[in-house]
């Protein structure tokens, strides 16, 4: 990461023809990708913002009416919205914290294990690569009191996992944790690989126990990768949709915010109200990410030479 562009573009100097040509080429190479991203996301997003200001149902296009911010008032004063937000936050906190501990344990094992390294890394990629809907079905049928083995293994008899809120959420969290811990643990493994071995060695010489070395040496040196992994996973967990849809369809108070937005827009074709939910969902993600990045001072976009 050393070759840089110091030789070109001295501030204030006139760019050479070659520099200008390179910039033009760079622009032409980037423009299509940037443009497509803008069109496929920013345009629908602005459209959603616009639609959220209307009372508009697809089944009644004639009744479309400008209502200003009333949709937002309706959503924010609805107990269901707040319950769904709380459910989503709960799922996010539970899955991310369990995954952080599990993922770290996995990373520590994978970092050191010599024998069967390939087998371990290959197996851990299977949950990562598997379709979320498939994982949802596997866990739903595993927990179900009709088809599942979980009750038999745990000696729970006919316990209806999907008949109660807490146990339904637990099942959803289990599925999410299984599916996404590998991603977290691989990110942590990469962070672990960057911690110089000498540090741990030196601490060992000084008589530090394995536990102390983990807490005082290894983890502080992995700070950046832990924060990045947690942020990515938290943002991902907050939009949980597939598992909820497949496992409970939002029953027993397990509806997530994404599911609420989907149900309003596609299920009820209430585009105005649903768009307001979408915009609020989007805003909460943006605010969370901004606060997280600000509070912990993580730079996610390390650009060469722009330190």
């Amino acid at each position: 990461m050393t070759t840089d562009h110091e030789d070109r573009g001295v501030p204030g100097a006139r760019p050479t023809d070659r520099g200008r040509g390179e910039r033009r080429l760079a622009w032409w190479l980037t423009a299509p990708a940037f443009g497509v991203m803008l069109v496929v996301t920013a345009y629908p997003m602005l459209d959603a913002l616009w639609l959220s200001l209307f009372s508009y149902r697809l089944t009644d296009p004639g009744g479309r009416e400008f209502v200003g911010l009333r949709n937002y008032a309706v959503v924010l004063s609805d107990a269901l919205w707040w319950q769904d937000v709380w459910t989503t936050v709960l799922i996010t906190i539970v899955t991310v914290s369990v995954e952080l501990v599990l993922g770290l344990a996995f990373a520590l094992v994978m970092h050191r294990v010599a024998f069967g390294r390939r087998v371990v890394r290959t197996s851990i990629l299977v949950p990562y690569g598997i379709v979320t809907v498939v994982s949802g079905f596997a866990w739903r049928y595993a927990f179900s009191s009709e088809t599942g083995f979980v009750n038999g293994w745990l000696g729970l008899g006919d316990f209806a996992w999907f008949g109660h809120r807490a146990s339904s959420l637990l099942a959803i969290c289990a599925a999410e944790i299984w599916k996404t811990t590998p991603f977290l643990s691989l990110l942590l493994l990469a962070g672990l690989a960057q911690v110089p071995d000498e540090l741990g060695e030196a601490a060992r010489m000084d008589g530090a126990s394995a536990w102390q070395r983990l807490w005082r040496v290894t983890l502080p040196n992995m700070r950046a990768s832990i924060l990045v992994a947690v942020l990515f996973r938290a943002l991902d967990a907050y939009r949980v949709f597939d598992s909820v849809f497949v496992m409970t369809a939002g029953a027993q108070g397990t509806e997530s915010v994404s599911f609420l937005a989907y149900r309003q827009m596609i299920g009820r074709t209430a585009l105005g109200l649903g768009s307001a939910v979408s915009i609020l969902l989007f805003l909460s993600v943006v605010i969370f990410a901004a606060l997280f990045l600000k509070a912990l001072r993580v730079d996610l976009v390390p650009v060469r030479g722009a330190r």
């Binding site: 070759t3 562009h5 070109r8 390179e22 080429l25 760079a26 622009w27 190479l29 980037t30 990708a33 497509v36 991203m37 496929v40 996301t41 629908p44 997003m45 959603a48 639609l51 344990a105 094992v109 994978m110 294990v113 024998f115 390939r118 087998v119 890394r121 197996s123 690569g129 379709v131 979320t132 809907v133 498939v134 079905f137 596997a138 049928y141 009191s145 009709e146 083995f149 038999g152 299984w178 991603f183 990469a190 990045v228 992994a229 943002l235 991902d236 939009r239 949709f241 597939d242 849809f245 937005a261 827009m265 596609i266 649903g274 979408s278 969902l281 989007f282 993600v285 976009v301 650009v303």
Partner: protein, 275 residues
């Protein structure tokens, strides 16, 4: 003595990880081999092993068409993303470009935002312009998450390439474009391939767009078809057939993961931990 004890702990840890990762997969395979009352036997393994569910699945037109749609749509979205992202990543990693941070930051923001947010407007728009329930109507929104992923993986990869070779080619009289195409593209091919695998896995996983923007076997993808599958008859529990279909769509994933394990791990982690 102590060293050996730690080795044994690690070994046990490794076995635990493998079991943890594969047990649910083994369960869905086992469930797919059950038939009739066996599906509700509430045990892990079937009492009678049968392939009936697989026959049912491949005789269900909704599933076979969904398989075709999923493969087609995911491949097209992957191809478009990779081509566009390769150009962009080259410019970001290699060339003088104002607004690198803007492009990368925007890609990151797009990759992390809730996809459900854009489903409603697309649903409305697609119905008006005739893209509802078509391949194109899925490929376009797929780009919103496949393109940022490809850009990040490829940018990280391109930064590690030996670009001196390109300089050398330019010295020898090649234009920048020739240097890019003739020297760097072959070197970059493995990274591009890795990015393609990851991108394909993402597209293959899509559910939100699949259920919202399709309605028939014209474009409905596998995850959506699975979620709406109700079994071959109302008298049979659909779990067996759904499990068989689930296994069928998991096989390509497992094959990719087994063959390209090292590359997938490298590609997954390269973008995220720099700095």
């Amino acid at each position: 003595m102590k060293g050996r004890g730690r080795g044994a702990v690690r070994m046990l840890g490794a076995i635990a990880i493998v079991a943890w990762a594969l047990l649910p997969v083994a369960w869905i395979v086992s469930l797919s081999l059950k038939a009739g009352d066996d599906i509700q036997n509430r045990r892990f393994l079937p009492t009678v092993w049968t392939l009936d569910n697989y026959r049912t699945v491949f005789r269900t037109p909704l599933f076979t068409s969904a398989l075709r749609n999923s493969v087609g749509v995911s491949l097209i979205a992957t191809a478009i993303s990779i081509v566009l992202a390769t150009f962009a990543a080259y410019a970001i990693a290699r060339l003088e470009l104002r607004g690198k941070r803007l492009v990368l930051g925007f890609a990151l923001a797009v990759a992390t935002f809730p996809v459900v947010s854009i489903v409603g407007p697309l649903f409305d728009l697609w119905r008006r312009v005739g893209l509802y329930d078509t391949w194109a109507g899925l490929v376009l929104p797929y780009l919103s998450f496949t393109l940022p992923l490809s850009i990040w993986v490829l940018t990280a990869f391109f930064r590690q390439l030996p670009w001196e070779l390109e300089q050398a080619a330019v010295m020898d009289g090649a234009t920048r474009w020739q240097a890019f195409r003739k020297v760097m593209v072959p070197l970059a091919a493995p990274g591009v391939f890795t990015a393609a695998i990851l991108t394909f896995l993402f597209a293959w996983n899509d559910f939100v767009f699949g259920i919202s923007l399709t309605s028939t076997d014209r474009a409905r993808n596998v995850p959506a078809a699975l979620a709406f599958f109700t079994g071959s008859s109302q008298y049979q529990h659909p779990a067996g057939a759904i499990a068989a279909a689930a296994v069928v769509v998991t096989v390509p994933v497992v094959v990719l993961v087994v063959v390209f394990q090292r590359r997938i791990v490298a590609g997954l982690t390269s973008g995220a931990v720099k700095g």
